[in-house]
């Protein structure tokens, strides 16, 4: 069953000087229910722009995006977002952060407490309920953020480079944890990353984007059984192939494309 339907979406941003920039050009794809779909590409390829459109933070210039058949017009809990920089509310404790969306949904208090408890345990943060975010490590903060997004029971979970600011050990651990949670909770996930290895390790399908203008070049199906071993020669070969191809597309054809540090969407 198709859960997410993106049809011929283009997005024009205005630069600081007011020049129109084509951040996305004619992007189309579908995501099945319960699928783990990953979008990879180098910085500035428009993947964050695409995620902002899916979240409803911005509107497409052309085309349309649908979730469960309904047009995306504004942000909402059906499309909960996990941000790279966690975006936890510093003035709320772990518990209150996870409860945030449940309160907005006006669930009965007992139900809220049960769900908060369940998701805090799910991400392994039992005992830290009354801590403030600034008292937690980066990995723990991101787990709170994931618990907060899962707790509202969204129809899709949007993840914007969620592990990019974690150290490599924590990142690998969090990837494994996310897969466990995903297999247990059966969420539809759209996972944006600049890491091809990460995308191949996690996703059912990997969409590869190239920049200027941001567009989908190819969608690869990753058929390896989970849990996946990143040292499996077939997977290493797949990753190397994608990396080589992407390098040719992005850097060797367009030398001017280097040296950019931010996604165009952050401008």
């Amino acid at each position: 069953m198709t859960q997410v339907d993106v049809a011929h979406v283009s997005k024009v941003h205005l630069s600081v000087k007011g020049e129109p920039l084509l951040a996305l050009h004619d992007v189309s794809f579908q995501v099945e229910k319960n699928e783990f779909f990953s979008i990879v590409g180098p910085s500035g390829c428009g993947k964050t722009s695409l995620l902002n459109l899916l979240a409803g933070f911005e509107q497409p210039t052309r085309g349309e995006l649908r979730v469960g058949g309904e047009l995306i017009t504004q942000p909402g809990w059906e499309r909960a977002v996990v941000f790279q920089e966690y975006a936890l509310f510093p003035w709320y404790t772990v518990m209150e952060n996870v409860r945030y969306g449940l309160r907005r949904k006006r669930l009965p208090a007992a139900e809220q407490t049960r769900l908060v408890d369940h998701y805090i345990r799910l991400v392994g943060l039992g005992g830290f309920e009354t801590r403030y975010p600034r008292e937690l490590s980066g990995g723990m903060r991101q787990r709170v953020s994931i618990a907060r997004a899962l707790a509202v029971n969204p129809s899709i979970l949007l993840m914007d480079e969620p592990f990019a600011s974690l150290d490599i050990q924590t990142r690998e651990y969090m990837q494994d944890e996310l897969l466990k949670i995903w297999q247990r909770e059966r969420q539809t996930v759209i996972f944006v990353t600049h890491s091809i290895d990460e995308a191949i390790k996690l996703a059912d399908r990997v969409a590869i984007m190239t920049p200027r203008p941001g567009r989908f070049e190819e969608i690869k199906v990753v058929e390896f059984d989970r849990p996946r071993d990143p040292t499996n020669p077939a997977m290493v070969r797949l990753a190397a192939e994608v990396k080589r191809w992407l390098r040719q597309q992005v850097f060797e054809s367009e030398p001017a494309a280097q040296g950019e540090s931010q996604d165009s969407a952050r401008v």
Binding site: A55, G56, F57, Q74, P75, G76, W77, R79, A80, V81, F83, E85, A87, L88, F89, P90, W91, Y92, Y100, G101, R104, K105, G126, G127, F128, Y132, P133, R134, R148, A149, V152, L158
Partner: protein, 292 residues
């Protein structure tokens, strides 16, 4: 190279530590908190520089009088200021001066907060509203509160209302501008996080914008309190039946510089105490915030 002996420091500590066990372990490593009187003593000992300042003042003033007798009037020593305080206490007017001034400052700053915080937050949050209100605000802001004194006397007569109006004018702008900056600077990621978790605009205001702006709001209030005392003295210097500014101005006409210094010292002490109380309040309201 015989049996596999794990290198030093790599041995696993038995069992997975639960958060509770870790917390207990941490608690066992921390020395017990010192008794209350030790903590109070430690806090008081930070006042040594202030104490040294008073001692130096006393010495300069008393020994200086042997060189220059005029110093008796130009700079009375702290002991003279203290006896001036006893003097005024005995006549029963000192407490009235203090409470009148304190009440005027608190009423005026409270009014500035009640009107200024909502206005500043609204200006920070709604760009359209800001665009309309900003020119009016920036037109009134450069006019010194003291310039309002003649008109305010015409409007309110001489008394509390007129002085409070002057203090209010001085305190209002730092409150508005800081609240506005607070609301504008709220992290856009937090706003987006709120929206994507189903927050409505009303929810966003109370759960994201207001708490996000609180540190700036309190900065504005602390600045306003400080400026409030300045405006108070100016207001009471010109026209007032009582208060510390009145005390200073009245003493000037009869050359009682010990009373003048007493008024100055009392304003300093009150400002210090109010700022201390304010910071305690901030710690209570924002436990998540790093120390002020």
């Amino acid at each position: 190279m015989t049996a596999a002996v794990p290198p030093r420091g790599t041995a696993r500590r038995g069992g997975a530590a639960t958060p509770q066990a870790t917390a207990e372990l941490a608690a066992s490593m921390v020395p017990p908190a010192p008794p209350r009187w030790r903590r109070i003593l430690a806090q008081l000992s930070r006042l040594w520089l202030l104490a040294a300042f008073i001692v130096v003042w006393e010495l300069v003033s008393t020994f200086g009088q042997r060189i220059n007798p005029q110093l008796d009037v130009m700079l009375p020593p702290p002991t003279a200021v203290f006896s001036a305080a006893q003097d005024l206490m005995a006549r029963g007017v000192l407490v009235t001066h203090i409470t009148d001034s304190l009440r005027r400052v608190l009423v005026a700053v409270a009014a500035a907060a009640v009107l200024g915080v909502p206005l500043g937050l609204a200006m920070g949050w709604f760009a359209g509203f800001r665009a309309v209100v900003d020119p009016v605000l920036e037109f009134v802001r450069p006019i010194p509160p003291l310039a309002w004194i003649p008109l305010s006397i015409l409007w309110f007569g001489i008394g509390d209302m007129q002085i409070q109006y002057i203090i209010f004018l001085a305190a209002f702008f730092p409150v508005v501008l800081n609240s506005m900056a607070g609301a504008r600077d709220v992290d856009s990621y937090l706003v987006r996080a709120g929206l994507s978790l189903g927050a409505r605009p009303r929810d966003l205001f109370f759960t994201v914008v207001l708490p996000g702006a609180l540190p700036n709001i309190f900065t504005g209030l602390r600045v306003a309190l400080g400026i409030g005392w300045m405006a108070l003295v100016a207001g009471e210097l010109v026209a007032a039946p009582s208060g510390l500014g009145y005390l200073i101005n009245n003493a000037r006409t009869v050359f009682r510089s010990d009373y003048i210094l007493l008024g100055m010292v009392l304003i300093g002490v009150l400002g210090l105490v109010l700022d201390y109380l304010m910071r305690q309040f901030v710690r209570l309201v924002m436990p998540w915030h790093k120390g002020q």
